[in-house]
Every structure is written in C-alpha cells, then in structure tokens.
Symmetry: C3
Subunit: 260 residues, 3 copies
C-alpha cells in the first residue's frame, strides 16, 4: 500500500480517497442538517427549533442529563441509529458519563434486544474515538456489584417463578441470575437510571403493560412521579404520541395505586 | 479487470470514480432489484408481481393516490427507509403533491416519533432534488390555519384533560397547543388525509387501541368505512398480517358503534 | 482534480479500489467486531460470550438449527439488518437449507411486512453469492403444494369470515387464497418451521395476542410445548425481555387450555 515510491505525478492521495470514500458511507447514518430538513419539511424544522429544542429540552421537570438518558433509551430501544451519533455527543455534553453510556447500551441489550445494543455500539465506537474515550474510561467487565435487597428480590423471584417457573424455566432462571442478581447491580449506572432507561424503552416500544412492574421498581429506586411524567412528555416527541397515550393510562393506575 | 498492463494515460476519470463511489453508498438504502429478489426468494418476486402489484394496488376500493399515502405512512411509521425512495417517487407519480409529502413527514414526527421523520427527510431530500422540487413548492412554515371546530376540540380537550391533565400536564398541553390547534390545521394536507396517515401509522406500529379515538376522527374528517377497510387490506402487505389482525377487531367495534 | 494528465505508472488497481470501496459500504450493515464491542461496552461482550454464545445457544431444549430459524425470524421480523448477514451464514452452517432461508424470507413478507422481506433479500443476496448458492438451489416459484387439511382450513376460514368477512372482505380473501391455501403449503419450508418462524416473529414484534391462534397451529404442525418455551428463552436475548414477558402469560394460557 506504500504509494510514496510512485514516480509519475499522482495527485489523488489515498488520504483524499479515504475522505471521499468516508462521505457516502457515513452519510447513511447521519442526521440531516437543518438545511436538509428545511428543503423537505419546513414545518418540521420549525417544530424542532421552537418546540422540541426551544421548549421541551428546557422544561424544568427533568434535567438535561436525564433527558439525554431518556432520549438514548428511546433511540436505542427503537433501533433508530440515524440520530444516535448526535445524541451520544449531546449526552456527553450534558454530563452523562462514558461509563453510563456503556452501561445503558448493555442494559438495553436485555430490555430491547441484542441487535439494538450491537447497532448502538457501531455508532458509539466512533463517538468515543472522536472524544478520545479510551478503554480505561469504560466500566469493568466484572466489577464489585451493588448490594442486593435480598427481601425484595426474593419476593420478585417468587412471584415470577410461581407464575412462569414450571413452563418457562429458562427465562425465569436468566431473569434472576443475569438480570436481577447481576446486570441491575452493576455499579456504573445507578439503579434509578437503569429504571429511567427501562421505563423509557418500554414506552418507546409500545410495551405499556410492563410498566405495571417497572414504574414501582423505578420509584423504589428513587424516581419521582413528576420525573416519570416529565419523561413521558419528553418521549412523546421521540417515540410518538400513540406510544405515550398507551402508556399514560397504565402509569396513571400505578401512580394512583401507590398513592393509596 | 486486469490493470497491470496499463502503461498509457490513465482513463479512470474522477467522474467515473464518483459513480463507482455512489453505488455502494446508495445501495444500502435502495430496494433490491427484481433480479436480486429472484436470486434469493423467487416466490417473493412472484407474490410481489402477481398479488401486490398485479392485484392489491389495482383494487377499486382506494385510489392509487390514497394507496401511496397509506404506504408512505406505513414505511415512515416503521422507519423502513429501504423502499422509501421508490415509494416517494411512486407517490409523486400517483398525484401526491410535494407539499403533501412534506406534511406527511411532519405529521408523522408526532405520530411515530421524531427520528422517523428525520430519517424520511434524508430520503425525500434526494427524491425532491431529482424531481427538481424546490423550496417554493414546499408548504409555508407558518401558513394561515384551517378553521377549528371549536366545539369538537373543546370536547376532546376536556376529555383528555380530565383523564390525564393532573398527572401529565406537559403531554396534555402539547396535544392541544401543537397537535390539535396547529399541526392538524395546517392547510397543505387535508384533515381527511391526516387521518388516513394517522390510522395507517397506528396499525403499522401495532397501536390498535388508539384506533378507538382515531377512526371516528377520520370518519368525521371524511374517510368512509369502506376506505378504511380497504386501507387495512393494503396495509396487510406492508405492515404484516399480525398488525392487521390486531386492528380489525378494534375497527369493527368502532364501525358497529358508529352504525347504531 | 484533473487526472487525465497522468503519465507515470499507476499501481492502484481497480481491484484494490473495489476492495476499498466495499469497506465503507458493507461496514454500515455489518455487526461490530468483538474488539469494537469491548471498546464501548465490555460487559456486553462478556454477556455475549459467557451467556448468549456460551450458554443459550448450547441449551439442549432446541437444536442449533432451530435456534438459527428463531433468530432469523426475530431479526427479519424486527428489520434488524445489522446482524443478519452473520446469522444467515450461521444458519447455513447449522444446516438451515438455502431453500428454507428463501422461504423464511417470503413467509415473513406476510407476517412482518413486505419491506422487512426486501431488506432481508439485500443481505441474503450477498451471503448466497459468497456461498455460491445459485438459482438452481432455490425453491421453485410455483411448486406442487403440500396437501391441505380441508376440514381444519374450512373451520379456520369460517371463523375468520364470520368475524371479519362483511367488513374486511379483502383481508379475509387474501388470508384464505394466498396465506392458507398457498404460502403455508409451499413444500420447501415444513409447516412446523413456518409455525416456528411465525410464533417467533409475533413475539419479536410484541404481537402477543396473536399467539392465541398461532401456538395451537404450531402444536398441530408438530412443535412441542417445551420447544416453544425454549424458543421463548432464546428470544429473550434477541427481542428483549419485555416482549417475552408479554408473550409468556398468553402462551401459558394456551398451553393450559390445550392440556385440559
């Protein structure tokens, strides 16, 4: 591949070739520019500027950092890689740590499917390289785990086992061993944030029924009702109104039951 | 392909290079050719020709124009960009106006999620450029809105506010201010077409429960029961039988209730 | 940029150019390498190696061949092309025949939507070319069909027609003519495997309610209850825990009803 020994006048360097080659390839995965949006849907640009960026992201009920966590969960959960690179960068700018992004991706392998996580890795890798985030800034593969609430976990395990243990022993075993006695206890993403990610992914994928279990877990992990409500408002824009209108009645019931 | 014998002037122009470069990049987003399909799944090609193109698109219950609107809603609603370029072109050929395509994309930002709309912009931009559709053929950013049915909207707003206003004030406010007092009143896509897009996106995303609200809105906006039924037949092919079999019982109940 | 003035030796062959060109284009659709995953999410790599590849794929309840069928259905059903190339190859290595892959893609056009199938064709085409799978190894376009169980089909058709025939004649007609009297009888994918594909795609897309019909069809086609339960365990990783926790209560009810 050494081209320096070339003797004739050759001015198209491999470097410029690489640049040229890179453009069409990465373009496929990149968000459209504001000008692109204006050339197709001026109203979409206006709503993006006035409402989404101008209002929603600035609402007081949820920090920019939490909004980034919710947005990442929505995009990874729905396998929407097009805007993901920009949102990884925005998340880092909002104070989401590289370790947390790493754990969000791993968490969502379980809560939205393996291929969603691997697709996110492809995008995150380039962002991490650009931001010079190296291996020593990532979570350990097998760190010391957070302490387990043995009583609550035994109760959860019993309920799931009673309902599904006889027929679906594999799922029940992995739910206990891998999810609740391992993944959820990994220290580089707080349980409260894991719940925010899980709840967001459930809403993003139209899995409203599963909120009955995960909103109470989230509130036990420190999420407040107004925070969850504000996450739902934020999600309306990123996962569409219908998913949110399916989630609200379920969330409402959970909130009311908990208030009693 | 042997180039080692080359000694004379180099004839691979940058133009041909650009062509070569364009192929792999755009291939990622392009539908397979008929030959490609035949090389993998001859039966799929046969069903496409005989049933989908040969029959479904020609059924009398819905115009080609409306079928294109339904198909665009299904593809954008499910973020399936692979066939979207071809279907934008087909939609233009079927008489869907550029302004309408623009508004369909904006509408679906709200009804299927922001990233679905931005992904559609990337594809539409190239089609608009190819068809020489310039900025002056696009909808105004902030046009004079259609008149509002104040009574119906006040009724809708009250019901949603009574149910969700206390717990989810953000969603309730945006639903009124941005959706029903702005988006739905933009003049470049008729309310009847917005309903066709919305209903199609709901079915495409397995959000059958939300049809209870949106089919009556659609019929108030001028969609007929046979048109909705025929859209559902069309959608069976584009969003899969299971989504349609989940939608039909809900639609049936709505039709029966309305007939009383 | 004018290259016509070149006179010296030019050693960058078109072949190496093609290689270079191929990299960015295919990269977009390729799974990340193990190293890529480690550079972003070391825990994801560990879970992939220890649990998914090290345990799940080796569990005795379902053959590697069936696990590949389930995985392909999940990925095509969710339009997740990123890992699909690798899984087509793995499926071939596990003994899934090219004719079966071809029929799985065609089957899923109907059970998850046309664009899912065409996106899968784009990936499969390259794998088939690489493995030198030519047209004579593909299913016939219109082969002699398997014998129909006239009684069972008449019963199914009557139930669907009674419920939906008056309102949705198009769907009802295509369900009979194209699905149950044609697609399901194509000989190159066994009815038992079509059921495995269908059930997997339903779970993959959150269509749990449709399992009520399709699990009994699958068991009539030869799938056993433990096989379905094990497919659900496998799917937990590929389509996410929430889809599986929505599917289990429905599957449980069907199993219990059938046991009576």
């Amino acid at each position: 591949m050494n081209m320096r020994s070339r003797t004739g006048p050759f001015r198209l360097s491999l470097f410029s070739l690489a640049i040229a080659l890179a453009i069409p390839a990465s373009a496929a995965a990149e968000s459209p520019s504001r000008k692109d949006i204006q050339m197709v849907a001026p109203a979409l640009d206006k709503y993006t500027q006035d409402r989404l960026l101008g209002e929603v992201w600035k609402r007081p009920g949820l920090s920019s950092r939490d909004r980034s966590v919710v947005t990442l969960a929505a995009l990874i959960g729905r396998n929407q890689t097009i805007a993901l690179g920009d949102h990884f960068k925005l998340a880092l700018d909002h104070g989401v740590k590289p370790t947390e992004i790493s754990e969000i991706i791993t968490h969502l392998a379980f809560y939205s499917g393996w291929a969603n996580a691997t697709a996110a890795v492809v995008i995150a890798k380039d962002v991490f390289a650009e931001r010079k985030i190296a291996a020593d800034q990532l979570p350990a593969e097998a760190p010391a785990l957070l302490p387990l609430n043995e009583v609550a976990e035994a109760d959860r395990a019993k309920r799931v086992s009673d309902q599904f243990g006889a027929m679906f022993p594999g799922v029940v075993q992995y739910t206990t061993d891998v999810l609740f006695r391992d993944l959820w206890l990994r220290p580089d993403l707080a349980p409260r944030d894991r719940s925010l990610v899980t709840i967001s992914a459930l809403i993003a994928n139209g899995q409203a029924a599963q909120l009955t279990g995960h909103i109470p877990i989230g509130m036990n992990n420190g999420l407040t009702q107004p925070e969850i409500a504000e996450a739902i408002t934020h999600l309306a824009f990123y996962v569409g109104w219908p998913n949110v209108f399916s989630a609200m009645p379920v969330a409402k019931q959970v909130f009311e039951k908990r208030a009693r």
